[in-house]
């Protein structure tokens, strides 16, 4: 059979961001594929170099629309370390609050998209309707739905009033109830199970060879010491506590470590494997 090469992209029909695949087909079987990344390299590093620290906050916020707060929090942690700025406790709390609300909206977003891609559009409609609740919360706090612009050097730009607090708590109780429903749906619903179980498996050895980390690696049953993990360690620097929350899989609970303890644990772990990191 003759081979055929099809290039879907850069405007891919299913993805929201530009990417280009070159697929090699033999009849209806895909026998090879290459990914061409980099269509969206916007040169943010270079643009940030020529701007002031304050202007950079708003530039860096626009790296991503879904995780805009994470990027500025990371940037602020660095700028504040250089400038040796002391943060007020309330500002740290508000940063963490916005970060957590953002996480809720981000998870609801991907759940909806995942439902949409597996042809389960009711799930998409449901989660995006409920996501409005958390976007409302973010709008109360910051005035914006997507690019909150809450971080600034040495603190945050807005405070939270008692009225806002009451409104947010009201919406959070709705969200909690709905999320429990989605957990039930994701683990029991036949459509979700049929579309996700044993589909597109990343083999265990490939996951190790290709240095997969986090949830991707754990889904391929890679069990290894990983620290610090994004979803387990929240806003370390922004919290200003210099402590790390690490989820212990053996005890199934969250342990809180200081940086020195975490470093010791890492060194001990690698010593068992015959690698000496004690001089680092």
């Amino acid at each position: 059979m003759t081979k055929m090469t099809i290039p879907p992209g850069p405007q891919h029909p299913a993805l929201k961001e530009p990417v280009n695949f070159t697929l090699v087909l033999e009849g209806e079987q895909i026998t090879g594929s290459t990914v061409n990344l980099g269509y969206n390299h916007r040169g943010v590093e270079k643009a940030a170099e020529s701007r002031t620290y304050l202007q950079d906050i708003y530039l860096i916020e626009r790296i991503c629309g879904i995780c805009s707060h994470s990027h500025t929090t990371c940037y602020m942690a660095n700028v504040e370390e250089i400038a040796k700025v002391e943060l007020p406790e309330r500002a740290k709390a508000i940063r963490t609050l916005v970060g957590e609300l953002e996480r809720v909206h981000s998870h609801l977003l991907w759940l909806g998209i995942a439902g949409y891609e597996m042809g389960y559009e009711t799930l998409f409609m449901y989660t995006w309707r409920d996501r409005e609740q958390v976007l409302d919360c973010l709008e109360f706090v910051s005035g914006n739905r997507v690019h909150y612009g809450i971080n600034t050097i040495g603190g945050v730009r807005r405070d939270i009033t008692p009225e806002q607090k009451a409104e947010i708590l009201k919406r959070l109780s709705i969200l909690e109830e709905r999320t429990k429903y989605y957990v039930k749906l994701g683990t029991e619903e036949a459509t979700v199970l049929a579309r996700t179980q044993n589909v597109g498996k990343l083999p265990h050895d490939v996951a190790i060879e290709r240095s997969a980390v986090g949830p991707t690696a754990r889904a391929s049953a890679v069990r290894r010491y990983e620290a610090p993990r994004g979803e387990d360690i929240h806003y370390l620097k922004a919290n200003g506590t210099d402590r790390a929350m690490v989820y212990d899989t053996k005890k199934s609970k969250v342990q809180v470590y200081g940086w020195d303890e975490l470093r010791k644990l890492g060194i001990e772990h690698y010593k068992k494997r015959g690698v000496d990191f004690s001089k680092l």
């Binding site: 390299h41 170099e49 020529s50 240095s211 997969a212």
Partner: protein, 81 residues
């Protein structure tokens, strides 16, 4: 991992033999910073586009937009003030 290489003739050995996942990072060093990766098998460019000049390395601190695009005026930081 921390390595040093002279600025005048930057060369680094590749670690893709041990960690195949390091290939994109090696390509990024090659295409964005102009560091030659010894032993890296040929492949397509990442992340600059295919028509980007091969002798331009934008993330270097001394690189200015005018080096690649002489007609374009750089935005000044004072503008927004």
């Amino acid at each position: 991992m921390r390595v040093r290489t002279p600025r005048t003739d930057p060369h680094l050995p590749t670690i893709t033999g041990t960690f195949p996942g390091s290939e994109p990072y090696a390509r990024e060093l090659m295409d964005m910073f102009g560091i030659k990766m010894d032993g890296l098998k040929p492949g397509r460019r990442y992340p600059p586009p295919d028509d980007f000049p091969t002798d331009q390395y934008p993330p270097r601190k001394d690189w200015k937009t005018a080096d690649a695009y002489p007609d374009e005026k750089p935005a000044s930081a004072a503008e927004a003030e």
